[in-house]
Symmetry: C2
Subunit: 346 residues, 2 copies
Amino acid sequence: MSVTIREVAREALVSVATVSRVLNGKGPVHADTARRIRSAAKSLHYVPHGGARSLITRRTTTLGVLLPELYGEFFSELIRGIDVCARRKGFHLLVSSSHSDRAESEEMVRAMRGRVDGLIVLSPDVRPHALKANLPEKFPVVLVNTAGGRGSFDSLTVDNFGGAVEMVRHLAGLGHRRIDFLEGPAANRDASERLRGYRQARSEQGLETSGVEIPGDFREESGYEACRRILAARRRPSAVFAANDSMALGLLCAFQEKGIRVPQDVAIAGFDDIPIARYVTPPLTSVRVPIAELGARAAELLIAGLESGPAPGRRRETLPTHLVVRSSCGELDGARPRSASGTGYG
Amino acid sequence: MSVTIREVAREALVSVATVSRVLNGKGPVHADTARRIRSAAKSLHYVPHGGARSLITRRTTTLGVLLPELYGEFFSELIRGIDVCARRKGFHLLVSSSHSDRAESEEMVRAMRGRVDGLIVLSPDVRPHALKANLPEKFPVVLVNTAGGRGSFDSLTVDNFGGAVEMVRHLAGLGHRRIDFLEGPAANRDASERLRGYRQARSEQGLETSGVEIPGDFREESGYEACRRILAARRRPSAVFAANDSMALGLLCAFQEKGIRVPQDVAIAGFDDIPIARYVTPPLTSVRVPIAELGARAAELLIAGLESGPAPGRRRETLPTHLVVRSSCGELDGARPRSASGTGYG
DNA sequence: GCGGATTGTGTAAACGATTACAGAGGTGCG
DNA sequence: CGCACCTCTGTAATCGTTTACACAATCCGC
């Protein structure tokens, strides 16, 4: 079928060992021989067989990435971050997404054996113990935004809690006393941390608390729907803090259709700072989440662990978030913060 | 290091052949023996080594996906589509993105040897001949939205040309005589096809033609920037057709900041129908591109070719696009088309 | 009780690479 | 000249599987 090292050897009139040496740059080989081998390899379109190679070297130079069903740009940003870092260090990516139930996740974990050197896991469905049961002893794993990474594996999170706290303080600082919160999916770790931050800051600031949490699912549609509940309430909020930007934008759209002015009648804030956030009217105040950096850092951590053997101790890192103030909360008078404020999403 | 089939065999007091037979469900094995083997495998956390296995079976049950540096949701949607289909057929995905120059692309192609059974290629940088030079004879490949797939490989496209034509006709039908076009990146195939469609329909409809094409790069920022050029022109367009939604939204934002009303003062249309398009004010008229289906179809085509040997003839498919009319062009009077109009992006 | 399936299992040869080891030839030095 | 030591190359073992083939035991119909 496809050409092997043996055929290259025959063509160049040498043994397979010498071919291997030339192609991997190891061991001393006569310049003429090397030239002959290289030209034979090229003319035969020889490419070494990854599987065979990894069998003996015990390395695949491939990182596995396990993802849940994800909606929107988070996924692609994260992959991009991981990929950039992995590529720089000479690694490939074996990605598997869209697995929602736990059995399927575990199946994926098993399928990665012998194909990857380490794993980056994002699925909140994969419990640490399930990972352990399906992986070789001491297999390198980095958990990202996953619940209960306690002790077993290296793990990485963004400071969802801190970002939410900061946003609520910002809103309170602008004089808002009643701030509704538009929740994300109940099972989602990021969502619950943002909710926790909101609650903490709300009570810390002594804000109103009656019936101000509205269910949502991170999608534009649910933000749009939330409008109805907000308008139906006896007392209306002066600000709404959505657990992510997509919902904030859905809500913004709904408000504008009803003739409710933002930010004059009600302020809106989001979370994530997706690229479009600064290009809606009014531009959306949000919390910048360094998604690409999160991915890159995960890859970095994993590869470091790969090269230096098992890590000394389990690491747990939290990446900071940053408040991005735009005019949807009335702070600025229509001036649009330009890209000089940092893109990071490019 | 990690447990092999040999250790399972020893534990279950049988030969490796029998273990393999049980785990793959081939050949007759005594029920008791099978039970013993299965329990040994489970207690040892045995997982077969993918590399070793693929070496002998000559199958990896993995599909390679080659992507360029991509911006926005196109990437994640496409991957999702591919993944859903691949998973259903029992395949994994080896993804590689962010390779921009050609040498790097070729390197990636080579790296896939022995790791994947077939390739889905999106990079416009990978010329067909470069593919041929770096792949085994008859290696299954499906090209997606790539220039010059003429003859060599199966290929798949969306009807960018037709979609653009349809949009211009729609705008002309609303009475617009001067329709500016906001271009995508010059090297991008989708962008150039959309431009071609725009030009074709423009001349077909006998519309104005002087200096109405504005450079852009598919990003919000360039749509925002385009506003300046449009306002500086001697004659202003009554409609602007952007080569993608991101730019359309950037332009919309810029217009609104200048107090120019959409659609009363100027109409705006986009291309792609990204989820946010129906949640801006006013909702954006666009062209629906079935990205996820595109990915799914690519995977389907590839897998079909895998299972039935080399395809009879090279196939070339074009997926249809659909006009999605919302109020940004003045057709509707503020009523927002609801998700009943078909999501497909969920 | 005897050939011929049938069933259950083991032995060993692949698959395509890497690499330890050894050997061949040349060089420098005492 | 002999010995140690390079440089260059080949032989063969190895990685963890699958599977063709061989073989033993059991079963069936006569």
